[in-house]
C-alpha cells in the first residue's frame, strides 16, 4: 500500500498524543481488516489519550476502528475506510472490584481471562465464554455482545453491563448507567453501545455485575448416530426441571475435535451448580440416555472446563474460511441446523456445526471447497437461500467470518426491519461524520 501524503502528519500527531512507542505507522500487515490496512495503529494508555486521538481523527475526518484483542475484527461488513486502528491493549486495568457488591469496573482492554482469574478466588466470575475467550477483552466482548454456549443458562454480556464510559467521535466522554446492579436513572444508554461494533463510540470503561461461581460442575455428552434422538433428549431437558448452564448440539466433525475417539453427533450438557444439584442432574441425564439408547460420557470439574475451552477454540482448531450464525426461534433450532447443513455441505469441507436449542443459535463453519474458491456462485446461492428462508421466519443469517469476495456481495447482517430509520438517526447523532468503523455494521452504518 502506498502511503498517502498525509501519513507523516498523522503519525506525528498520534505520536504527540501517545508517544512514539505506542504508534505503529505504517501499520504492519497483520493489522489489516479484510483487505484494508490502516495508516496507523495506536495504543493509548489513558482515557484522555483515547479522547485526544478521536478529537484529532474527527477534525481530520480519519476513520477510526476500535479494537480489543482483534480476533473479531472481520466480524461484520468490510469497513469502508480504516485510517486509525485504536487498540485498547494498554487500557487493561481492573479499576474497582468489591466482592461484597458482586460488581466490578474495568478498562475496556482488560481481558476476560485475567479478570476471572482475579474474581475466582472470591468464588465470583463473569460467565462469558465467547469464541477465543482466552484472548478476548471485555471491551471487545461488550462491543460485539459476543457469547458462547453459556448464553443458555447465563444470558448475554448485555445482561451484565451496568455502566459504560465511552469516548464519542468528537472526543467528549459519555458515562451511562452506574455501578449498582439495579438502576433506572435516566435512559439506559448502555444498551446503545453494547453490541454496536464500535460504530457509536469507543468503549473505554465497563462496569459489570458478576455472578457467584458455582461450587461444582459437570458435563454430560450424549452421543448418537442421528439427530432425532438427540433432539428428543434436548426437548426433554428443556421441558424438565433441569437447569443446564449450556446445551449444545455438535456434529461429528465438531465432536471429533472434542472427543477424538467419538466422532459422532452429540448433545453437550453442562451443569454449573451446587454439588448435590450437579450430581442429581447428571444422574437424571444418565437415565435419559438409557431410555433413549444414547451413549453418555461425562466429565467433571477440570475435565469439564477444559472440554468447553476446546469448544471455544474450535474456530482455531478447525480450518475456517466461513463462519455463519443463524439466529432463529428456539423451537426452530433443529430445523435451522438441518437447513444450514443441507445448504452448505456442498460448499464446505470439514464442516462443523454447533447449535443451542435453548436460544436458537446455530453456528456453521468450515473450509470452502477448492472449486468454490473460484466464482463462489454455489456458496453465494446457498447463503441467499438460507437468508430468504429464515428471515421470513423471524430469523437472521449473520456472517461472523467470510472471505472478502463473499462479504462484498453478501451483507453480513441482513434485514434490520422497520427500526432502521431510528438506527440511522442514532448513528447520525453519535457519529455525524461517520468516522467510527464506517460501513461495518447493519445497513452499512
Amino acid at each position: 500500500m502506498v502511503a498517502s501524503p498525509e501519513v507523516s502528519t498523522v503519525e506525528r500527531e498520534l505520536i504527540s498524543i501517545v508517544g512514539a512507542a505506542n504508534v505503529l505507522c505504517p501499520a504492519p500487515d497483520e493489522y489489516a481488516i479484510d483487505d484494508r490496512r490502516p495508516l496507523a495503529v495506536v495504543f493509548p494508555g489513558t482515557i484522555e489519550e483515547v479522547a485526544a486521538v478521536l478529537h484529532f481523527a474527527q477534525a481530520r475526518e480519519l476513520a477510526v476502528v476500535p479494537m480489543g484483542s482483534g480476533h473479531r475484527l472481520s466480524f461484520g461488513n468490510p469497513p469502508e475506510r480504516v485510517d486509525i486502528l485504536l487498540s485498547t491493549r494498554r487500557l487493561n486495568r481492573m479499576l474497582e472490584y468489591e466482592p461484597a457488591d458482586l460488581t466490578a469496573s474495568v478498562e475496556a482492554g482488560c481481558r476476560l481471562e485475567a479478570f476471572n482469574r482475579e474474581a475466582l478466588p472470591h468464588r465470583q466470575w463473569l460467565p462469558f465464554d465467547p469464541p477465543d475467550a482466552d484472548r478476548a477483552t471485555l471491551g471487545g466482548i461488550v462491543a460485539t455482545d459476543d457469547f458462547g454456549p453459556l448464553r443458555h443458562g447465563y444470558g448475554r454480556p448485555r445482561d451484565y453491563v451496568i455502566g459504560v464510559e465511552v469516548v464519542r467521535a468528537d472526543g467528549t466522554r459519555l458515562r451511562a448507567g452506574g455501578r449498582v446492579v439495579k438502576n433506572v436513572t435516566g435512559y439506559d444508554l448502555n444498551k446503545l453501545f453494547v453490541g454496536s461494533f464500535g460504530t457509536l463510540g469507543v468503549l473505554v470503561r465497563v462496569n459489570f455485575k458478576l455472578r457467584p461461581y458455582p461450587e461444582a460442575e459437570a458435563t454430560a455428552v450424549l452421543l448418537g448416530p442421528e439427530w432425532e434422538r438427540l433432539e428428543t433428549a434436548s426437548q426433554h431437558i428443556l421441558r424438565s426441571e433441569l437447569l443446564p448452564a449450556a446445551l449444545l448440539f455438535s456434529n461429528a466433525e465438531a465432536t471429533s475435535t472434542l472427543l477424538p475417539d467419538r466422532p459422532q453427533k452429540a448433545l453437550l450438557v453442562r451443569f454449573l451448580e451446587t454439588p448435590p444439584a450437579v450430581a442429581y442432574q447428571v444422574d437424571r441425564l444418565r437415565a435419559l440416555a438409557r431410555s433413549l439408547s444414547l451413549d453418555l460420557v461425562d466429565f467433571t470439574n477440570d475435565a469439564s472446563r477444559s472440554l468447553w475451552e476446546t469448544v471455544g477454540r474450535l474456530r482455531r482448531r478447525l480450518p475456517t474460511d466461513l463462519l455463519l450464525r443463524l439466529s432463529v426461534l428456539p423451537a426452530h433450532t433443529m430445523a435451522a441446523l438441518r437447513a444450514g447443513e443441507r445448504a452448505l455441505s456442498p460448499c464446505l469441507t470439514s464442516m462443523y456445526v454447533l447449535a443451542q436449542p435453548g436460544t436458537g443459535i446455530v453456528h456453521i463453519g468450515g473450509r470452502l471447497r477448492a472449486e468454490e474458491a473460484n466464482g463462489l456462485a454455489r456458496v453465494m446461492e446457498a447463503l441467499a437461500h438460507l437468508r430468504t428462508a429464515w428471515e421470513s421466519r423471524r430469523g437472521h443469517v449473520i456472517l461472523e467470518q467470510a472471505p472478502l469476495a463473499i462479504k462484498r456481495n453478501f451483507d453480513a447482517w441482513g434485514d434490520v426491519g422497520s427500526s432502521l430509520p431510528l438506527m440511522r438517526a442514532l448513528k447520525q447523532i453519535f457519529d455525524p461524520k461517520r468516522i467510527l468503523s464506517p460501513g461495518r455494521f447493519v445497513a452499512g452504518l
Binding site: D101, T103, K182, Y280
Partner: protein
C-alpha cells in the same frame, strides 16, 4: 378545520374520548399523588391502529400525549404535566399468544402483570418480574419503567424478560423493536426503549419470556434485633456466593404497619428488622443453600430463622411484603416512597445514616426494600396538609439522594425518574451526559410531544 377532540372522537367514538373536566379529575395523578396535573382529555384506544391514528392527529395538532396503564407508578410518570391527552390502555388487555415451545407470550400493554403469571401457572411457567404492585400494574407500564420487584435479584428486571415490542412512535408510525423470540440485528433499540418512561413512544404489543417454575422454592423469615445486623447478614449471604431469588428487608415500623393491615403475615412486631429470603431452583440446591443461609443469619445475630412450611405460609409472607407500602398508609395521611440504590456492601453504613437524616428532620420513617440488590425504599410518613412538614420531607429526600449518590449509588432502581426526581439528575450525570440523553430522546420524539416534562431536567439540545 376539525378540533383534535372531534378528530379523536371520529376515530374512537364519542364514548371513548373523555373531555369532561369532572371526569378528568381522577386522571390528575398516578400512584404518587404528590404531583397533580389535569389532562385535557383521556382516550381509550383498543388497538395499535387506533393508537397510531390518534397519535397522528395529536402530532398534527402538536398536542402532547402520554400512555397510562393502571396508574400505579411511583414517580409521577403518568401525569400530564403539560396537559394534553392520556392514552388509557387498560382495555388493551388481551393475551394474544402463549408459546410454550419458545417460552414466550405476546400480550397487549394493558395486561396485568399477575394475570400473565396466572395464565401460564397451570402449565408450569411464570413471568419473572414481580413489582409489588403486580396484582394491579400493567405490563405496558412495566416496560415503560423497566420495573423490578423482589425477584429481580436473581431473575433480572423487565428489560431482561422482554423479547420484542411493537411501538407506535410519536409521529404515529409503527415499528417493531427486538427479535420477538429470536435475536435481532442492529442497535439494541429494544433495550433502549425499555425504561424510557413513555417518552419514546407507546408500546402496543409486548413479547415476553416465560420462565419454567423452579422445582423447589423455600422462603425464610429471619428476625434481627438491629438493622445493622440484618444488613451485615445480607452482605454475608451475597459474599458467600449464594444468589437467593429474593432478599428483602423490612424494619420495625413497616412490620407494625403490615401486621395491622389485611396483609398481616405473622411477623414478629418486636424485631428491629426482618429479612425475607427466598431460595429457588433444584430441590437439591435449595436444601443445601437454605442450610447455609440459616447459618449465615444465625452467625449475624438472627434471633430466629423460620422456613415457611407450605405455600400458604409463603404466600402470606409475600402478601405482607408486597402490601407493605400500602399498609404504611395507616401510619399517617401521606407517604413519600423513596427509591434509591447503593452498592450492597454499603448497607450497614448507609441505612443508619438514613434514619439519622429522618430523625434530624423530625420525620417518621419506615424502610422496606430489596436489600439483596441494595435497592432502598425509605418511606417517609407525613401529613401533606402541613406545608412546613412537606418542606422537611423534601429536604430529607434530597439529603438521602445525595448520600446514596455519594457512596456510588443511583437515584432510582425501579420507580423511574418521572416528574419526581428530575431535579436530582445532575447529581449523577454531567451536562454532556444529559445532553446525549436528550439527543437520543429527540431521535424518537423530535417534536417533544410524547410524555414531555419527564426524565430530563429541561429540553436541551446543542450542536455537537
Amino acid at each position: 378545520m376539525m378540533s383534535w377532540i372531534a378528530e379523536l372522537k371520529a376515530i374512537l367514538g364519542d364514548e371513548d374520548v373523555i373531555a369532561d373536566p369532572e371526569r378528568l379529575l381522577a386522571y390528575e395523578c398516578d400512584g404518587l399523588s404528590l404531583h397533580k396535573h389535569l389532562p385535557s382529555a383521556v382516550i381509550f384506544p383498543e388497538s395499535a391502529e387506533e393508537v397510531a391514528r390518534a397519535v397522528k392527529v395529536l402530532a398534527r395538532h402538536r398536542v402532547p400525549f402520554l400512555a397510562r396503564g393502571a396508574g400505579t407508578g411511583l414517580s409521577g410518570g403518568a401525569v400530564a404535566v403539560q396537559g394534553g391527552v392520556i392514552f388509557e390502555l387498560a382495555r388493551m388487555n388481551r393475551i394474544l399468544a402463549i408459546d410454550y415451545e419458545n417460552q414466550l407470550a405476546v400480550v397487549e400493554p394493558g395486561v396485568i402483570n399477575l394475570a400473565l403469571t396466572r395464565a401460564v401457572a397451570e402449565a408450569g411457567y411464570f413471568y419473572a418480574p414481580d413489582p409489588s404492585s403486580q396484582m394491579a400494574c400493567t405490563l405496558g407500564g412495566n416496560v415503560a419503567e423497566n420495573a423490578g420487584g423482589p425477584h429481580c435479584l436473581k431473575y433480572g428486571m423487565t428489560g431482561h424478560h422482554v423479547l420484542g415490542l411493537e411501538v407506535v412512535l410519536p409521529d404515529g408510525t409503527i415499528v417493531m423493536l427486538g427479535g420477538h423470540g429470536a435475536d435481532a440485528v442492529g442497535y439494541d433499540l429494544l433495550g433502549l426503549f425499555i425504561g424510557s418512561e413513555g417518552t419514546f413512544g407507546i408500546a402496543t404489543k409486548i413479547t415476553v419470556r416465560l420462565m419454567r417454575q423452579p422445582q423447589a422454592v423455600k422462603t425464610l423469615l429471619a428476625d434481627f434485633l438491629s438493622v445493622e445486623d440484618a444488613s451485615r447478614a445480607v452482605s454475608a449471604i451475597i459474599a458467600a456466593g449464594i444468589l437467593p431469588s429474593a432478599l428483602e428487608m423490612m424494619d420495625r415500623a413497616t412490620i407494625e404497619a403490615v401486621e395491622a393491615s389485611v396483609y398481616a403475615a405473622g411477623l414478629p412486631t418486636d424485631a428491629a428488622a426482618v429479612l425475607i429470603i427466598e431460595v429457588d431452583g433444584l430441590e437439591a440446591s435449595v436444601v443445601y443453600e437454605v442450610e447455609r443461609v440459616v447459618e449465615i443469619c444465625r452467625a449475624h445475630g438472627a434471633r430466629q430463622v423460620v422456613v415457611a412450611r407450605d405455600e400458604a405460609e409463603r404466600a402470606r409472607l409475600w402478601a405482607g411484603r408486597k402490601g407493605a407500602f400500602g399498609a404504611l398508609g395507616r401510619i399517617s395521611p401521606d407517604l413519600m416512597v423513596q427509591d434509591a440504590v447503593i452498592p450492597r456492601s454499603k448497607l450497614p453504613e448507609v441505612l443508619p445514616e438514613i434514619y439519622r437524616i429522618a430523625a434530624r428532620y423530625g420525620l417518621r420513617m419506615a424502610n422496606v426494600f430489596h436489600a439483596g440488590d441494595g435497592n432502598l425504599h425509605p418511606n417517609i410518613c407525613f401529613d401533606g396538609r402541613d406545608p412546613e412538614e412537606v418542606e422537611r420531607v423534601k429536604a430529607a429526600c434530597r439529603e438521602i439522594m445525595e448520600l446514596c449518590v455519594r457512596v456510588g449509588g443511583a437515584l432510582t432502581g425501579e420507580h423511574g425518574i418521572g416528574l419526581d426526581k428530575i431535579a436530582y439528575m445532575p447529581l449523577v450525570f454531567t451536562e454532556d451526559d444529559l445532553e446525549a440523553m436528550a439527543r437520543v430522546r429527540a431521535v424518537f420524539d423530535p417534536e417533544g410531544l410524547c410524555n414531555p416534562g419527564k426524565v430530563l431536567p429541561v429540553r436541551r439540545c446543542r450542536a455537537f
